[in-house]
């Protein structure tokens, strides 16, 4: 009975959201520019919704609370990296947007093709984006699966539930493209905001009187919970700063983030968003309060189970209606970003690998069709990754970010007075990813306290500079400089 009410609530909310997405695109013709970058017509508010919709995902909803529950202060890194990334975006995004507008670019890899004049480099970048989007999509799926299982009070077969949820989201992207996702973000952001404020205020108030009192209780029991350890340990202060730097640099390297940049109506839209978006980070404090409350009320979860923290409290102490509502918001926080990520992964492979590198599906209609077919392929791959490689939300996000940030040197140096050679950029990316693979095989997440992703990024920069500027003649290549 309880499970029926909770699951019916989730189903109703998801159906309404998908309906809104289809309503939003009812009179829009789907060419690639419309499908992938929403016709480059999004104003400040719509872009805000889309960016926020992409950024505040299952990781924010469950993963951040899980970290507050399982680790404490290291979770605060999320507050810092988003804010630093928005500041960086103020300067980095307008020139990327101008290039996109001038050359009709659709995808992140297109940017590399335009700046370095090499379609092979574009294909390499597309493959990197594709590969590291899979764990990110899987992260969303894992989140949805956790929520459905809790909402089912143990009665739901999670594999079947996730298969249905994912079929729904794949159909949704297939039908509506980026514009539909932006519409769905409206519902998702509103519901997530309500759910997060509920979890971050109502839970601590119910058990301890106020959020500050809940934090006091945490400190009474775990005196070091809101500070970082000073040494070079896995989540110490050195790790914190290096992870903030790494993930802030990687923040806008995602193919879906670059598509969002291109969807902006003007560069001023991007600047105004960069100014305002840091405030959205404050939402994480509510998530932390929810995680802290769960730590006191339901201690004892370990490993991947920490991701369930506050949802288990809601399940135990609140009515199935409320559980269903909060879980529905969380499901949207997974499914809407997943749809945008799937769309981005599909479009970079159809455009930059199939069409540009192999000459397959080159006309506009063929490309939209290829991107749509690939949407289904990506959804299936992420689903398989979920079935075979189950791991924590935190683990998934760190894998994804370590990889995608390796694209940063190529983007940043393309604006330098003298650009590195294509060989240098490609060798840098390959070096960075090889280093990550090495660290992963050695089960290292830090070296001397520094996040291995930043170590790999430094090697990447060094190789890009050495081969790009010294070994080969550095380049004016074929593409003209873009100012």
């Amino acid at each position: 009975m309880n499970a029926g009410i909770a699951v019916a609530t989730i189903a109703a909310v998801l159906a309404a959201t998908v309906g809104l997405g289809f309503y939003g695109v009812r009179r829009v013709t789907m060419d690639p520019e419309q499908f992938i970058v929403g016709g480059r017509s999004f104003g400040a508010v719509f872009l805000w919704l889309l960016l926020a919709g992409e950024i505040y995902t299952s990781f924010a909803f469950l993963g951040a609370a899980g970290w507050a529950y399982g680790r404490g202060a290291p979770a605060f890194y999320i507050l810092c990296y988003g804010t630093v990334a928005y500041v960086l975006s103020y300067f980095l995004l307008p020139p990327i947007w101008r290039l996109g507008r001038a050359r009709g670019l659709l995808t992140g890899p297109d940017f590399f093709v335009a700046q370095y004049g090499s379609r092979k480099l574009g294909a390499l970048v597309a493959l990197v984006g594709f590969v590291f989007l899979i764990p990110y999509v899987t992260l969303q799926l894992t989140g949805v699966q956790v929520l459905l299982r809790i909402a089912g009070y143990g009665a739901i077969d999670s594999l079947g539930a996730v298969a249905i949820a994912f079929g729904l989201v794949a159909t949704f992207v297939y039908g509506t493209g980026l514009r539909g996702a932006a519409w769905a973000s409206i519902v998702k952001d509103a519901l997530v905001l309500i759910a997060v404020v509920f979890a971050g205020v109502a839970l601590p108030v119910r058990f301890f009187g106020s959020p500050a009192a809940a934090v006091d209780h945490v400190l009474a029991r775990y005196p070091h919970w809101t500070t970082l350890s000073g040494d070079a340990s896995a989540n110490g202060v050195t790790w914190f700063v290096s992870t903030v730097v790494l993930t802030a640099l990687g923040f806008f390297m995602w193919p879906q983030s670059i598509a969002a940049i291109f969807s902006a109506k003007s560069e001023d839209t991007l600047r105004r968003n960069a100014i305002a978006l840091p405030l959205y980070q404050l939402m994480f404090f509510f998530v932390y309060f929810a995680g802290f409350t769960a730590l006191l009320v339901m201690p004892g979860l370990t490993g991947p189970d920490v991701d369930q923290s506050f949802m288990l409290v809601v399940q135990k102490y609140y009515s199935p209606w409320i559980l269903g509502f909060v879980a529905a918001a969380g499901c949207l926080a997974g499914l809407v970003p997943a749809s945008v990520q799937i769309l981005a992964a599909a479009s970079i492979v159809s455009k930059n690998v199939l069409a540009d590198a192999f000459g397959i599906a080159t006309t506009s209609a063929e490309q939209t069709r290829a991107a749509r077919a690939l949407v289904l392929v990506v959804a299936l791959l992420a689903f398989l990754f979920w079935v075979f490689a189950k791991t924590t939300l935190v683990g998934l996000l760190l894998i994804a970010y370590n990889g995608i940030t390796q694209l940063f040197p190529g983007v940043a140096l393309s604006f330098a007075p003298v650009r590195p050679s294509v060989t240098g950029v490609a060798a840098g990316i390959v070096t960075g990813i090889a280093a990550l693979a090495g660290f992963a095989l050695a089960h290292r997440s830090v070296v001397g306290g520094i996040n291995v992703g930043l170590v790999a990024l430094s090697l990447n920069f060094a190789v890009t500079a050495a081969l790009g500027y010294l070994a080969f003649r550095s380049v004016p290549v074929t593409a003209e400089r873009f100012e």
Binding site: A73, F76, L79, C80, T83, V84, Y86, V87, L88, Y90, F91, P94, P95, A212, A213, V215, D216, L219, P223, T226, T227, L228, G230, V237, F240, V241, V244, V245, R271, R272, A274, I275, A276, P278, L279, Q281, L282, F285, Y288, F415, E483
Partner: protein
């Protein structure tokens, strides 16, 4: 990079960036409490709220020049 970016606007933007990276080791403490909250998260919250003010100043400055 955008033609209007000047050393002053970069300097302004660097303030919150440095506060949230290099500043963290110095803010890594529980006391003093701010409105009852431990110092580290309160410090981070302060900078999150201040960042738009810094960026708005950059925006205004670039507009004018």
């Amino acid at each position: 990079m955008p033609g209007k970016t000047s050393p002053l606007s970069v300097a302004l933007a660097l303030v919150p960036v440095l506060a949230l990276t290099a500043g963290i080791p110095f803010a890594n403490r529980v006391e003093p409490r701010i409105f009852g909250f431990p110092f580290l998260p309160a410090y981070i919250a302060f900078w999150i709220v201040s960042t738009p003010a810094f960026m708005l100043a950059v925006y205004r400055f670039e507009r004018r020049s």
